[in-house]
Symmetry: C2
Subunit: 368 residues, 2 copies
Amino acid sequence: MGVNPAEGVRRRRATLKEVAAEVGVSPATVSNAYNRPDQLSEESREKVMEAARRLGYAGPDPTARGLRRGRAGAIGVLYADRLSYAFADPAAVLFFEGVSRAAEEAGLGLLLVPGSISGRHDPEAVRAAAVDGFVVYCMAEGDQMIGAVRDRRLPAVLVDDPPEVFAEDMSRVGVDDEGGARAAAEHLVGLGHRRIGIVSYELAPQPVGGLAGPDRQAEVAFRSTRLRLEGYRSAVEGMGVAWESVPVYECPENDPEEGANAARVLLGIDPRPTALVAISDQLAFGAIEAAREMGLSVPGDLSIVGFDDVPEAARSNPPLTTVHQDHVEKGLLAGRLLVARLGGEEPETPKMLRTRLVVRDSTAAPRG
Amino acid sequence: MGVNPAEGVRRRRATLKEVAAEVGVSPATVSNAYNRPDQLSEESREKVMEAARRLGYAGPDPTARGLRRGRAGAIGVLYADRLSYAFADPAAVLFFEGVSRAAEEAGLGLLLVPGSISGRHDPEAVRAAAVDGFVVYCMAEGDQMIGAVRDRRLPAVLVDDPPEVFAEDMSRVGVDDEGGARAAAEHLVGLGHRRIGIVSYELAPQPVGGLAGPDRQAEVAFRSTRLRLEGYRSAVEGMGVAWESVPVYECPENDPEEGANAARVLLGIDPRPTALVAISDQLAFGAIEAAREMGLSVPGDLSIVGFDDVPEAARSNPPLTTVHQDHVEKGLLAGRLLVARLGGEEPETPKMLRTRLVVRDSTAAPRG
DNA sequence: TTGTACGCGTTATCAT
DNA sequence: ATGATAACGCGTACAA
């Protein structure tokens, strides 16, 4: 007669009611023992806790408590893409860091909600999320996920891509994408560059890798991408360079490999660009890599600016000239705004965080 | 008589029962409309959905559904420290990426649970997490959070620091820390280094920055730290170097700044070490920085090895020699193991992932 | 200080 | 194909 190794271990979990029965007290008393210790004699509380320990009762069930209280005790963060992509994106990770700080401050959990599962956008995840509110990050305008969030009728904060349509009841946080982008491009033209290539994010939810003509450019569905592109445009046109002459390469993913692909194509154009503007640092890193592989020195033969100023930008080789934005602050602000809404406050007016150009060593005057 | 701007917007959310009443059917039918469309006439389903739309009902409430079904629909990831630190740790982020992939595969949400709130460890977060199971990452042995997890009687997977005590019922995933560390140190001694300094993580939950003597070293509470230290030790002793002569600096945080502090102290020792072994890449990056500030070239004057092989290691300057482990794979494995447990499977035997030394340019033979 | 009673919003079962 | 009913585990007035 062997001993069951799982003996007692996965025994059905005890409930509050059972603890009450064990002690010979009412369920209300047990509940109070956990939630309002002051409503109890020290003595009964002792007894309750002791019985709980004996029965292996770990306290009120979070789900039941959530139902009863009408609060889930967590905030949801909705990312436009698969969760695994989010973690691969340094800017997103920094943003999450900020949101998590706000969640911690408020004693709330942080539920990550994929905006897309195995490639397909699926509102189901939004519907199934046990949360008290949403922080919505980087959604394409008109994305159906936003509709799903709105339908939940929960407080929500839209970050970086606040489609105007549904925003009446949602708080909004963004950064000065256009100003930052303009500063980046002006820096380049100011140095004397006239042949510039743009390394862009995906322009629409169904990304296509490759050079993007005016038609494609007109489709930009991501607000901050559109604003950055406009910033670049206004800067080059301000210096008398025709926007039509500026090649824009659309990267289907935001990773260094794609940035490298973009650079290879753009640098194959004759006459070769003397500078590249990347819409993110991730893409810029790849572009630097590709340039180096092609035997081009940065910034000697080619200048490169990024966007985001992720920590690695300062440590890359060469250190990257880029547009700084405070991702952690952005997340913290979004999180706090949501927490405030949870507390019953009305949505505030949209917040816009500043950006600023950080000049490092990846840009210089063109040769000759 | 002004118009309330929030008119109708935050109107109490409709419930399933109300939808049923509106349509004139039973709640069961509405439930079926959402959960088993095949149990319904096309016609009634239409009616139900239409009424839902009219009333602004977004589908079954996740909390109530969770209570009724006995499943929360999410898995919890417990990190030893504050969440905001987790996001600042590239290895942890990679790990989360893997876990999130497993969660996505299973259609589960991912709830991040802080192991520590505002500096204090607080089991409350564990108790309050509405999840079906936990992935526990990098806990110190004997940490009370593990007890809290065990008390919840939910399936759990312990990663990297599986205290043997509570592990009977928990799955376990780790990597070959000792072997990896040994390889790193052997590489250095093999190159001819005899004066080596160690840049270590915190040794115990209450970290102390500074040189750690044998007493302090004996307190190591983190399993993988202990194993790595043992690996280093066995390698240097294998080459006839007394472990007592090897200075160990304990960094209170795992970030480059602390690595730099460590390096400054270790390199101030006379005779100066010719090589530094860092227990993480993050610390190694800081050490490189500090060495450079002190006018030491890497690897000319000083060799440095890291541990983890985070992506930046390949891009740092110089590219870092380090011990590779597959963090994403580790997270994916842990996540899948948990999902399997959720499906009723018994815990498997502990899994150990391989590590391997990746030699890049931060190490060379000592001068002279 | 403690107990009673009800409801939170849903789903599973069993009937019809 | 649809409905009635009983849980799920807990929190909170309110009464005692």
